[in-house]
């Protein structure tokens, strides 16, 4: 019965918490384009799969070259190193292995290890041949190399860098797909040098670096498509490994992953394309090598500047977005906090009132009970005529308790009943209540004035209880006045009032005790009461969104002013937090 003045939110009203959630989701969606880590991971896997397939296709092309004897398929570029038969087979094996790893099928794990292991073994034995100067007879095991593209080593033998790459990637690819952390570190440690070797070979081929020194001789001896295949394999291994390995930032959510995914392909393609273009210009005789170096410098400056400003712009956008999100979060937090404070204040007020209420009830119900027990005991002891008087007191106390309980019920009902507001003719209601009271007290003559034509917006039954309580009081406290006068009317400022010329009260002693349950200012037996009437009145006025106050002085009568809110009471009930 306490919580009516801060009614719990009805289901129709949207609680503050729901609002917070909605806004948070909205700003989350804004960040979503950058943040979807799961989606990025699956896209990365698709890229790795593509790279595996690409490498396998290159292997197939090389094999086709050997099967059908097509030099263009073996070397691609006229006069360049050819892809050997072993290389084509191992490339196919590692490409398939990578594709299987990237596709994520766990049951092919054994096959992946077998393919990788076979390719790594080919690489390892070829390297051994180089180191030991031996010939195990594996170089021409698949096809005879007649050296039409020009022989650099033993016929059919792949370049040492090729063999090294097969060894490293044959180990890296199965490890990249495995579950162990160490395995993934080793995979990165193998795939990164493999990718560098492939890159050097690819660029050396594209730029047609002449094999005129030991360094250039050994670094450019992979066929151009072999180098491309290795680049695809090593990048694929790194990508597959990206969930845990060195490249995990590109699989990460947030702006870091977004940036890495955007910048990495460009940082690979732009220098290659730019360098090639500059070199082709030089070869065509448009300018000399000095200008080439200058052009490279300019190109690097331009590319880095462009990349930096792109990055900076992107970061600025992300920063602004994050600041916006932070601000809105902060605002929501503040709202939430003030909401919590408000609710806490309301709850502690309700708690305090409830506590005071229980205290008063236990106190006020104990009084009559003590009387009942005391005089019952006395009646039992004394008997006769005296007992009748004692029992009368017992009955009166019992009735008093009944009255208290009745009023309490009324007070609690006030909070629970659904209001049905409408236009109420207060003047007619007041007159009706006065007639009732006068009818119930035929012995007293009280002159009453009711200002005609007063209407209000509110709940008729509740307003009747309000007027009954106020007029009852006025009636009661004029009992000792020679010419009692009770008035109902409205002030110019929109307040209604009930006034009397009765006993009045001491405003200092009254303060806010007046409107609390069970607080009585009078102990005069001529003015019986329980101190619930004005508490009830206050509750009704507050349910209508209004205020109630009392003015008075001892012996000068009392006036109770109340307002009923201009705002429709129903609207107020729907928004208890406002």
């Amino acid at each position: 019965m306490i919580h009516n003045s801060y009614t719990l939110a009805p289901p129709s009203a949207q609680p503050a918490g729901a609002r917070v959630l909605t806004e948070a989701t909205a700003s989350g969606g804004e960040m979503g384009r950058v943040a979807a880590a799961g989606e990025a991971a699956s896209r990365i896997r698709r890229w790795a799969l593509g790279m595996g397939v690409f490498a396998a296709l290159i292997g197939c092309v090389g094999m086709a070259g050997w099967v059908f004897g097509v030099e263009a398929l073996k070397s691609v570029l006229p006069g360049a190193a050819s892809m050997k038969a072993n290389t084509a087979a191992a490339m196919l094996a590692e490409g398939l292995g990578l594709a299987l790893v990237a596709s994520g099928f766990r049951k092919f794990r054994g096959l992946v290890i077998a393919l990788g292991g076979a390719a790594a073994a080919v690489g390892a034995f070829t390297l051994l041949e180089f180191v030991l100067g031996a010939n195990f007879g594996i170089d021409e095991a698949l096809a005879r190399d007649l050296g039409k593209g020009g022989l650099r080593y033993y016929p059919g033998r792949m370049a040492p860098t090729t063999a090294l790459n097969f060894l490293m990637l044959g180990i890296a690819i199965p490890l990249a797909g495995g579950a162990s952390r160490t395995g993934s570190r080793v995979a990165d440690a193998l795939a990164i040098p493999a990718s560098l070797i492939a890159l050097i070979s690819l660029i050396g081929n594209l730029f047609r670096v002449p094999a005129d020194s030991p360094v250039t001789y050994h670094t450019t001896q992979q066929a151009v498509h072999t180098a491309a295949g290795f680049l695809a394999l090593s990048c694929g291994a790194l990508l597959v490994n990206a969930q845990r390995g060195a490249l995990r930032v590109i699989a990460a959510g947030g702006s870091a992953g977004f940036m890495a995914r955007r910048m990495l392909p460009g940082s690979l393609a732009v220098p290659i394309a730019g360098g090639l273009a500059i070199l082709l210009g030089e070869r065509a005789g448009w300018y000399g090598s000095q200008f080439s170096s200058a052009a490279v410098v300019v190109a690097v400056i331009a590319a880095m500047t462009a990349a930096t400003s792109l990055l900076a712009n992107r970061l600025a956008v992300l920063d602004a977005r994050r600041r916006r999100a932070e601000r809105s979060l902060e605002r929501l937090n503040r709202q939430l906090e003030s909401g919590v404070q408000q609710r806490t204040a309301q709850l502690s007020a309700a708690n305090a009132e409830l506590e005071a209420f229980c205290y008063s009830i236990s106190h006020d119900l104990r009084g009559p009970l003590q009387t009942i027990d005391g005089f019952t005991a006395a009646a039992l002891e004394e008997g006769g005529e005296a007992a009748k008087d004692h029992l009368r007191r017992v009955r009166s106390s019992a009735r008093q308790m009944g009255e208290i309980l009745e009023r309490l019920l009324e007070l609690s009902r006030l909070s629970r009943t659904q209001m049905k507001p409408g236009t109420v003719d207060l003047s007619a209601l007041a007159q009706d209540v006065i007639d009732q009271i006068a009818g119930a007290n035929p012995g007293r003559i009280v002159s009453c004035k009711v200002q005609p034509g007063l209407t209000a917006y509110g709940d008729t039954p509740l307003l009747r209880v309000l007027l009954r309580n106020l007029l009852d009081n006025a009636w009661k406290f004029t009992a000792a006045t020679p010419t009692p006068l009770v008035e109902f009317g409205a002030t110019g400022s929109g307040e209604y009032f009930v006034s009397d010329n009765g006993t009045g009260f001491d405003p200092d002693a009254a303060n806010d005790r007046l409107f609390r349950p069970f607080h009585r200012l009078h102990d005069d037996p001529r003015f019986p009461g329980h101190g619930i009437g004005l508490a009830t009145a206050r509750r009704i006025v507050e349910r209508h969104g209004g205020r109630i106050r009392a003015e008075g002085a001892p012996g000068k009568g009392a006036t109770l002013f109340f307002s009923l809110s201009e705002v429709k009471p129903l609207a107020r009930e729907d928004h208890p937090a406002r």
Binding site: H363, R366, A377, S397, D523
Partner: protein, 149 residues
């Protein structure tokens, strides 16, 4: 010997009656005078107003204060008693149905010497009153007070 005077400050006439009956029934050999509020209590102490006619030589030896008086709270009674030089040393015991900790503390703060809960059971209430009266009036040694200094 007439016995000593117990001054009861209680606004409910039924409860005044009950306290007096209980004391009588328990055979407490002292006189209980009931007044309804703090003004009447001070009138009695100083033998003025409605109590002008009483024997001035008699001073209450114990004051029982009901904590919840409608017009003036029991604590005000205690403070008034403690301010007045005549009554400041008279033992005052709060008689109430409340055992709220804050009421107990505030009562001692206002100058109470004891705090007793009114039992609903009349017989028990009587026994409580008897022990209160016998301690404060028979066992306890109070300073001599004179009605006029």
């Amino acid at each position: 010997m007439l016995g000593k005077i117990i001054l009861l400050v209680e606004d409910n006439p039924d409860h005044q009656d009950l306290v007096q009956r209980a004391l009588r029934k328990e055979g407490v050999p002292h006189l209980c005078v009931a007044v309804k509020d703090v003004e009447e209590a001070m009138d009695f102490v100083h033998a003025r107003g409605a109590w002008e006619e009483r024997d001035r030589k008699l001073t209450p030896a114990l004051v029982l204060v009901d904590l919840k008086l409608a017009r003036s709270h029991g604590h005000e009674v205690l403070r008034t008693l403690r301010r007045d030089p005549v009554t400041r040393h008279i033992p005052a015991v709060v008689l109430t149905s409340s055992v709220e900790e804050r009421d107990v503390a505030a009562s001692y703060e206002a100058g109470a010497n004891g705090y007793v809960r009114k039992e609903i059971d009349f017989d028990e209430f009587g026994r409580t009153l008897r022990s209160v009266a016998s301690y404060w009036l028979d066992v306890n040694v109070a300073p001599e007070v004179s009605p006029r200094r």
